[in-house]
Symmetry: C2
Subunit: 364 residues, 2 copies
Amino acid sequence: MNKKDPLLEAFIQTKYQVAGHGKRQIQLLKDAFQEVDGELGSDIYGRGKVIEDFQDKMAAYLGKESAVFFPSGTMAQQIALRIWCDKKGIKKVAYHPLCHLEIHEEDGLKELHHIEPVLLADESRVIELQDVISMEEEIACLLLELPQREIGGQLPEYETLEQISSYCREKGIKLHLDGARLLEIVPYYQKTAAEICSLFDSVYVSVYKGIGGIAGAILAGDRDFTEQSKVWKRRHGGDLISLYPYIISANYYFDQHSHKMGQYYENAKELAELFNSCEGVSTKPLQPVSNMFHVHFHASREKIEPILIEIYEETSIGLTSYLRESSDVDCSYEVSIGDQYAALPIEKVKRVFKLLDEKMGNQL
Amino acid sequence: MNKKDPLLEAFIQTKYQVAGHGKRQIQLLKDAFQEVDGELGSDIYGRGKVIEDFQDKMAAYLGKESAVFFPSGTMAQQIALRIWCDKKGIKKVAYHPLCHLEIHEEDGLKELHHIEPVLLADESRVIELQDVISMEEEIACLLLELPQREIGGQLPEYETLEQISSYCREKGIKLHLDGARLLEIVPYYQKTAAEICSLFDSVYVSVYKGIGGIAGAILAGDRDFTEQSKVWKRRHGGDLISLYPYIISANYYFDQHSHKMGQYYENAKELAELFNSCEGVSTKPLQPVSNMFHVHFHASREKIEPILIEIYEETSIGLTSYLRESSDVDCSYEVSIGDQYAALPIEKVKRVFKLLDEKMGNQL
């Protein structure tokens, strides 16, 4: 951490933080293991009660035949796409231009798997049925990320998903769900996770976003698919002798957080409204469809930083530790609501937004 | 675990086990975290005090400029070889026919990196200087595994290592050390880990063999090499948001076990002698050069299993949970000495080998 980052320093000093479940500290692991019997045996290279029980639980939750625990979503998703490409004999897939595989993985998909992506839609919106229909290239698999994180967590209409799913099945295109934040969209769609997943051939879910675990991912699909994924997991170096530190914490926090996604969603809508009521501030999307959204300040980062620092110091409420510069007249950050929101003192929150509105007004 | 495996069942019932540090149970993690401050922050994608401190400690121990923590050796070693291949523009490496990459990784090196291996020496012995000199193919990198695990943990003479290292440097061949069990050979060579590593351009060390951690690996070399390895770590899906469960336990057990390798080595020699004193039993190598060796029984597995079960039941000392069938007249298993050996009651050990000698004599 950069000691000379004043926004980060001021954020660390705050008593309350608006987003997330809490600090990423070792205590997270200690709490998860507190009640676990020390004599419980480790999983061994993907086998054993600890890993099999959690995989079965997640397969059932996602309505899939089988699920495999992976150390990371990066690994799980590359492997899913590779399996579908090999099956069809075509090394081409389609996804959004801001897909995790395109911008956060050092081009692993291309460098390790030699799979070429076709970018659908543009950076400002989600993939629609028409984007899929009008694609000229033949692809093995289409990846949809729900919600589309890099644009604030936007979603297509559920009907669109159904139409894309039908179209892909008809055309022999596999449909893969980047469901890093799948649990978080269940309240908006008012569908079960299994209902949403039934539209997809394969599904990845992160265990450390809304679920709140330490690290790791689940990849689910039919048994033939997951069995192949285990071979690739070993090739990638992900078939660790023991994955239980991640599995036990994933299971512990799944039980704590999975039923609270509706609350986080309501909190997110409430908070977005507070931001949108301030001069020179808006959220993307305007009304959240999950626990997440982006906050945009319509001024440069160097103008906004001192405003936020003043607010943190006066209220001891931290909004964000960073600002991303989108342009000379815009900076932004990401919010994902977790357990901390419900613990905020309401009077202080009101004060935060009164100050923000005033200071932004003076600024602009 | 197969409930119908009588040898495994009998082994589980024993009070004492001869090899290893102890059972792979959750308690291992609980112990490592017992004294750790819960407020300590997680590493975040390869950064932060927890990961940086341990990497620095291991770099110093190995005498290398820099070290990177990986989730697995499988991942670390493929990446090391890939970096050296890319640097030279030749996708060929050389290693032993029983190299981990050749027999335990589902061909990840070939499937993900399209690197072709040249197999040196034969399955019964280690790689010697002459094998390297007489190689016709041009390679980017030679991998040496010390000790050569699949043949009981054998080692070349130290002088041979020095000669191979000089030859490789002269010919522009990178030398990579599969040092999964590097700490375990330090007592035999009577060199420091850093002295051994100085012969190599890159080094991998496992943190859950002799060190006794939960999972994970260290890859070390010069900074340019390790920086490239971080890019590939991300591509492989190994750049987890939090690796601390493995790092903190690796550090804890490194401090507990790294100074005991001499003791394990002496124990291994003593134990091998006991086996070799029994009729129809021999070890490979005859005299261990580390904490490990293989035990060969000169009879079929179905004849040996009941003998071992009787011994376990009478003495409550477990030798092994499994037997590998090498032929109709030979079966074997692997021993790696850890903390448990020193806790064995000496009278019972004597009784084990008296019984084994008698029963093998009756058998043959």
